[in-house]
């Protein structure tokens, strides 16, 4: 027993070290890659304060906030996905698949077009409301009827709601060329325009929701044994589920408000982490956060390399990477649980 425990622990520490190394490497690469590549030597020089090249320094300091924002956004999306999967007891739950991102988009477009809101904090509020309503709606459609919210029903309800809301978004966006200009690239999901302002906005939301979800990890673990079992273990089922759902939606809504809908990060990372380290949310949540930060950073770098001389929005890259993972998850799921 103790031997097994120790090997589990070693595995965990090893995983953590690998993840952190990859993330740090990603940060350096993200600062150095772009339409103009900067040698790593100069970046090191910049951080040590020994560089004297003003041009490099300007480019580097423009890329840093974007990188930091990418880290935060990736972590938020990943934790959000892990929470949603835990609440719905369903491996395919993801803010993109469930249509929650589209709900947030719709709310943001309404804000931009009708109320001329452009301040970040108000957009986050709006997007939170939109995302929450959509999440409730999709879950509602999916869980009526017998067998409750199965994978198929969740995914179909999410896809159908996405189509309908997407049409609404277009209806509002098309007549207003100003909104369209702001919104066109936002719609694909991009962290290219992020600055320190956005980082400052996102950080408190991430902090609060992440800490709250860590506190919820134990009761959520108990919930995964089934509602009756959780009650007998002294867990308040409804309250736990509701709080976790709020955290999950808040995390993805705040990222969506600032960067646009970025799908599949919340699907990929928690799944890989579960495969490697088991089902304990106390481990899954922090590991997913670090991994998600890395994943989004690398996706962003990939977008900048593939899209030269411009760049590809990170939302496109995550979808291209994530959809095959989704298909793979469905493929190996047993017939019974679909």
């Amino acid at each position: 027993m103790s031997l097994q425990n120790r090997s589990e622990k070693n595995k965990l520490i090893l995983g953590l070290i690998i993840e952190v190394t990859l993330v740090i490497l990603g940060v350096f690469l993200s600062v150095s890659t772009g339409s103009k590549n900067i040698p790593l030597k100069d970046i090191a020089g910049f951080f040590m304060g020994t560089t004297d090249d003003a041009f490099w320094a300007a480019v580097i300091s423009a890329r840093i906030p974007r990188t930091v924002f990418g880290l935060l956004a990736g972590a938020s999306l990943s934790v959000s996905g892990a929470l949603m999967q835990s609440i719905t007891r369903n491996p395919i739950a993801d803010p993109g698949i469930l249509g929650v991102n589209m709900g947030a988009s719709l709310a943001v477009v309404i804000g931009m077009a009708f109320f001329h809101i452009s301040s970040g904090i108000k957009l986050i509020g709006l997007s939170f409301v939109g995302a929450l309503l959509t999440a409730a709606f999709v879950y509602g459609i999916a869980s009526v009827g017998y067998k409750g919210a199965s994978s198929i029903k969740l995914a179909l309800a999410g896809a159908a709601v996405s189509t309908a809301l997407g049409a609404l978004v277009n209806t509002i966006m098309l007549p207003d060329s100003q909104v369209m200009k702001e919104f066109r690239f936002w719609q694909v999901g991009s962290i290219g325009g992020a600055g320190w302002e956005d980082v400052k906005l996102l950080l408190p939301f991430f902090g609060v929701a992440f800490i709250a979800s860590l506190c919820l990890a134990s009761p959520l673990n108990a919930l995964s044994l089934g509602d009756e079992m959780a009650v007998s273990l002294g867990v308040k089922v409804t309250r736990t589920k509701l709080l976790a759902a709020l955290c999950g939606v808040l995390l993805c809504a705040s990222v969506t408000a600032l960067a646009g809908p970025i799908g599949f990060v919340g699907l990929m990372l928690p799944h890989i982490i579960r495969q490697l380290f088991g089902n304990d949310l106390r481990i899954i949540l922090p590991m997913s956060a670090i991994g998600g930060a890395g994943l989004l950073t690398y996706s962003d770098i990939l977008g900048r390399i593939l899209g030269r001389p411009g760049e590809l929005e990170v939302g496109i890259i995550t979808a291209i990477l994530g959809a095959p993972v989704f298909i793979w998850i469905v493929w190996k799921t047993k017939a019974k649980s679909i």
Partner: protein, 345 residues
């Protein structure tokens, strides 16, 4: 005595159903024709039906000929063909997968055709029949892949739906990528390929689309009987002598060719395939004529949305944006209705 009674009862039910089908189909044909006339008459310049007829047959001023023959006539024809195709293929997929939400535009089948068409037009710079062929081939390929991955066995339908949604997401991302990279990027083109539009159809698209659609529709109508028996479940269908595998393949391929051919011309007109089947099914209570009626509902949806978008709004919305809007109330309806009945999705 009772046997005769029962026989009469059944006969009466059949007669009733026949009459119902006849009335519904007739009514919908009339509505579709009326909307078609409105579509031809209204626009930037309004003409009377007599004028339109005159321009079609004898010609007229240059502006009038351009408006009626070059702009509105292809819209009328392609609108009818694609509306009918989307309706019928939607019904086919929904019946085959036994799920009212599983239409080709939701489960990624049309996205394959869209992606291929965008690739041909924006990256390779070819359009017309060649791009249609590519679109159909890509649609078949994607569906083949979806089927291959979902495999056989119990969860055939369910797995296919989920994997289809995955492919949908992947292909839409690829379309966005091509639209951003392609030089012609503008919102109009983007929306055409993501939601569907009749704004860029030409007369030269009509013959091929029409011929293919007629063949595929005919085959589907032949399969219709078996498809309806399969609604009872695979066991019953086998017992009643229905070749399940053959019917399934035939329906899938024909339904796919229908939606892919139209998608190559108009883009995936959102929600038409998704809505037509359930509307028709509700009107006829799942009777024999449901497949044909789905097609007619599709035509009416496309015509109606086109007329609304051209005349009621100041912005020229692509038709797919308007039809897409109809999806939201339908989902709400589905939510409340199913909740009441305790039915399964």
């Amino acid at each position: 005595m009772t046997l005769v009674n029962t026989e009469q009862k059944i006969k009466r039910i059949y007669a009733l159903e026949k009459r119902r089908t006849f009335i519904c189909v007739g009514l919908f044909v009339v509505i579709a024709l009326a909307l078609g006339v409105v579509l031809m008459c209204l626009g930037n310049t309004n003409y009377t039906p007599a004028q339109v007829l005159d321009i079609l047959i004898h010609g007229g001023s240059k502006a009038a000929v351009y408006a009626v023959r070059t702009i509105r006539l292809p819209k009328l024809l392609i609108g009818a063909i694609s509306g009918f195709s989307f309706g019928v293929s939607g019904y086919t997929f929904q019946s085959l997968l036994k799920n009212p939400l599983a239409s080709p535009d939701i489960i990624g089948v049309t996205a394959g055709s869209s992606a291929a068409a965008v690739f041909c037009i924006l990256i390779l710079g070819i359009s017309g029949p060649v791009s249609s062929v590519f679109a159909v081939a890509a649609g078949l390929l994607v569906t083949g892949l979806i089927l291959l991955i979902s495999g056989r066995g119990k969860a055939f339908g369910g797995r296919m739906i989920l994997i289809g949604i995955g492919f949908q997401a992947l292909l839409n991302a690829l379309i966005s990528w091509m639209l951003l990279v392609g030089s012609e990027y503008d919102v109009g083109t983007a929306l055409r390929w993501l939601r569907g539009s009749l704004n860029m159809v030409r007369m030269s698209d009509v013959p091929v689309t029409f011929a293919v659609s007629v063949i595929a529709c005919t085959l589907l109508f032949i399969c219709n009987k078996n498809l309806r028996i399969m609604q009872l479940g695979d066991e019953y269908a086998t017992a009643l002598g229905v070749p399940i595998g053959l019917t399934r393949v035939c329906c899938l391929v024909c339904g796919l060719i229908l939606s892919a051919t139209s998608t190559a011309v108009t883009g995936p007109i959102a929600s038409v395939a998704f809505l037509s089947g359930p509307i028709a099914g509700r009107l006829l209570k799942g009777g024999k004529g449901t497949m044909a009626l789905s097609g007619l509902v599709g035509v009416i949806l496309v015509y109606g949305a086109e007329i609304v978008s051209k005349n009621l709004f100041t912005t020229n919305y692509p038709v797919g944006v308007v039809t897409g809007l109809l999806g939201a109330p339908y989902l709400l309806f589905l939510l409340f209705n199913i909740n009441k009945k305790g039915d399964k999705i």
